[in-house]
């Protein structure tokens, strides 16, 4: 069978049995799921069940490249890492930039599947067809920067690495996987699964060509893409290059959606001490791009820690919003330092910012004993200490390492009101009491309160009465859920489209040039809908129903206390109407939120029935 774009192979590694094999996948079964997150969903459906314990050897991690991954399409180096989350106990999916996905393709694999667990710390070494589990005793306990440095020293600078830090080893439920000193698979805690499997790292070096169907056509489309991004809106392109996603910081403040003091408030008085301009002026020293990206979002910033100069790729907006205003932190230097600590310990910055904001609010209300740690809003020193305590599960860090949902169950006394999560996943950096569409987006996202499935907030503010509740918003949200998720299936970055406004159809043209398949954009979007329904069914199998599609309590119960949107909260009736439209439009049962038989059959998902 001739594949173009794809390698046609999965690498299956059973850590318990030390058994390694390659599997040739067949087009008929797998192409309807495109690749990337789609392949990951099908693998997790097939290889886990309703009772798979996330941190048990039975859990499976799939590292999925897409058909476009490894080509020179700007940003096409991504992987979606999929599993069952230790934080939420449902579908886990976290997309990572950098270069790892491209290297997998050069080594000859579309997906790396991990199951079982090592008895002793190991790392997985992949050199084309030469695969080996190697001892990682010397690496265990090391931070992510040190781990990568040691591996590169041993194996050469030209090896690509993903690894966990102490947080993953200590099974912190929102531990990240880190890559190339600055890119992370942060969300849903897959780093802890690596920790439970005693898998410290994966190294990949591939020497094979990435094969495409029509290189000439692909080159032309890439030239067009680069030219479009640079010249379509030169002013926007320039500021995007300078600030990356930190452009969102000022915007969120301007629309009163900046998470402030654990999402209690929506504007931050000292916002201009930690926005993109502050970053540029005070800490930025360079730019960092992912694979073949000609309009990169990444910024290199200097960080002072233990009187030494260190560097991070960041802060990005989500990190800055949540480790900054959400914890009352005013200065960009402290945010960058907290970012650095999360990166070296291997923690998701979004969940960490939530957890610390939650702890600060508990402390403010006298609900949390801290052994003398003054967890006051804006206390950067206490924040740095708490990050370390979480990574090493020391003192209250051991409770907070479970995430806000579990921590509140332990702390009790009404602390649940301070938990900003959906389905156990802490919320991204958009406060939603002034954005009903975004409230719904968090509620229906398959991983929990993450913005990657639909960031409808920008569309609803630009194009509608932002406070309105309408079927039109719900329709748009479903459209976005399919469009945005498509990029994770294709294995390329969505910023070229959603930030730099490249027409979506270009990605269908890329798909055709790379694979040689005559697939339309419409067909790809139907496949994205198929994947979305499959991840829903993984969640349904694990007990998720309509009752779980609900935003954090604060959204309904507390008015915004100050600022432009003072007095505003989300009306429950409005939310109820939107979720009802959502189920209708999706073909999901109104009472249970489960996709109907008809919907599943229509999408070719009869095998889940």
């Amino acid at each position: 069978m001739i594949f173009r774009g794809y390698t046609g192979k999965f690498l299956l590694v059973d850590l318990s049995k030390k058994a390694i094999k390659t599997i040739e996948w067949n087009k008929e079964d797998w192409l309807p799921f495109i690749g990337g997150r789609g392949f990951g969903a099908k693998i997790i459906w097939e290889m886990t069940d309703k009772s798979t314990e996330p941190l048990s050897p039975n859990n499976v991690v799939a590292i999925n490249a897409g058909p476009l991954t490894g080509t020179h399409i700007p940003g096409a180096g991504r992987v979606s890492i999929t599993s069952i989350s230790p934080l939420t106990n449902i579908w886990a999916d976290s997309s990572m930039g950098g270069y790892f996905g491209a290297e997998m393709k050069h080594a000859g694999y579309d997906v790396i599947i991990l199951k079982g667990a090592n008895k002793e710390p190991k790392y997985l070494s992949i050199e084309d067809d030469d695969i080996e589990l190697k001892k990682a005793d010397e690496l265990w306990g090391r931070d992510t920067y040190k781990t990568e440095s040691m591996l590169k020293k041993d194996l050469g600078d030209n090896v690509r690495i993903m690894c966990i830090g102490p947080a993953g080893e200590n099974l912190v439920k929102f531990a990240s996987i880190n890559h190339e000193f600055g890119r992370q698979s942060g969300r849903t805690g897959i780093g802890a699964i690596f920790g439970a499997k005693k898998l410290k790292a994966i190294t990949v070096r591939g020497t094979k060509d990435v094969k495409v169907a029509d290189l000439l056509r692909l080159n032309k489309r890439i030239d067009y893409t680069i030219d479009f991004m640079r010249n379509n809106d030169k002013d926007w392109h320039e500021i995007f290059l300078r600030h990356g996603t930190m452009t969102t910081y000022e915007w969120c403040q301007s629309i009163s959606a900046l998470p402030t003091k654990n999402f209690k408030e929506t504007e931050f008085e000292k916002w201009n001490e930690s926005d993109g301009f502050s970053m540029e002026k005070r800490i930025k020293v360079g730019k960092k791009a992912c694979h073949c990206c000609t309009s990169p979002c990444g910024n290199i910033s200097k960080v002072q820690h233990n009187n030494q100069n260190n560097f991070i790729v960041g802060p990005d907006y989500e990190t800055a919003g949540l480790l900054g205003p959400n914890c009352g932190i005013e200065d960009i230097e402290s945010i960058a330092q907290a970012n650095y600590l999360c990166d070296i310990y291997g923690l998701d910055t979004i969940s960490t910012g939530n957890v610390i904001g939650f702890a600060m609010e508990c402390y403010e209300n006298g609900l949390l004993g801290t052994d003398g740690l003054k967890l006051e809003w804006g206390n950067a020193t206490a924040m740095m200490q708490l990050i370390e305590m979480i990574a090493y599960r020391q003192g209250i860090g051991n409770i907070l390492a479970e995430g806000v949902k579990k921590a509140a169950e332990y702390i009790e006394n009404g602390s649940e009101m301070f938990t900003m999560h959906v389905k156990g996943l802490e919320q991204s950096a958009y406060e939603t009491r002034g954005a009903p569409g975004m409230t719904l987006a968090y509620a229906t996202s398959d991983v929990g309160a993450h913005h990657s499935r639909s960031t409808i907030i920008s569309w609803e503010i630009k194009n509608t009465d932002r406070f309105s509740v309408s079927e039109e918003k719900v329709e748009k949200q479903i459209e976005l859920e399919h469009q945005r998720s498509l990029f994770d299936a294709l294995g390329t970055c969505r910023f070229q489209w959603c930030e730099l406004r490249l027409p979506l159809n270009i990605f269908a043209q890329f798909f055709r040039a790379v694979t040689g398949l005559r697939t339309s954009l419409e067909s790809l979007l139907v496949a994205s809908e198929r994947i979305f329904n499959l991840t829903r069914m993984i969640n349904v199998r694990r007990g998720i129903t309509k009752k779980d599609d609900i935003p954090p309590k604060r959204v309904f119960m507390e008015e915004i206390p100050s600022g432009e949107l003072k007095g505003r909260k989300m009306q429950y009736e409005g939310f109820k109407a939107m979720i009802s439209w959502y189920y209708d439009l999706r073909g999901w049962d109104q009472e249970t939120g489960i996709p109907t038989r008809e919907t599943l059959e229509k999408l070719g998902l009869s095998f889940v029935l």
Binding site: N158, V210, C292, I300
Partner: protein, 78 residues
Amino acid sequence: MKIKTIPELCTSCNMCAYICSIKKLGVINYRKAAIRIFNKLPYPEIEILSNCDLCKSEEEPWCDKYCFPGALYMEGKE
């Protein structure tokens, strides 16, 4: 003429290496390129290999043409 580098401006995107392999050999494989980027913080290392022919049939080397951050330039170019 030869290619000179400014690592401080290099973003480690690797586009130069990919485009080199395509231009030289018609394949997508940065490891077959005549330029190598080693990703490091804060700035990468850039190595030009001895088999670089400066894309002699072209007006300018493709690595330079596709290096938008301006980390490569031609020394001795009039």
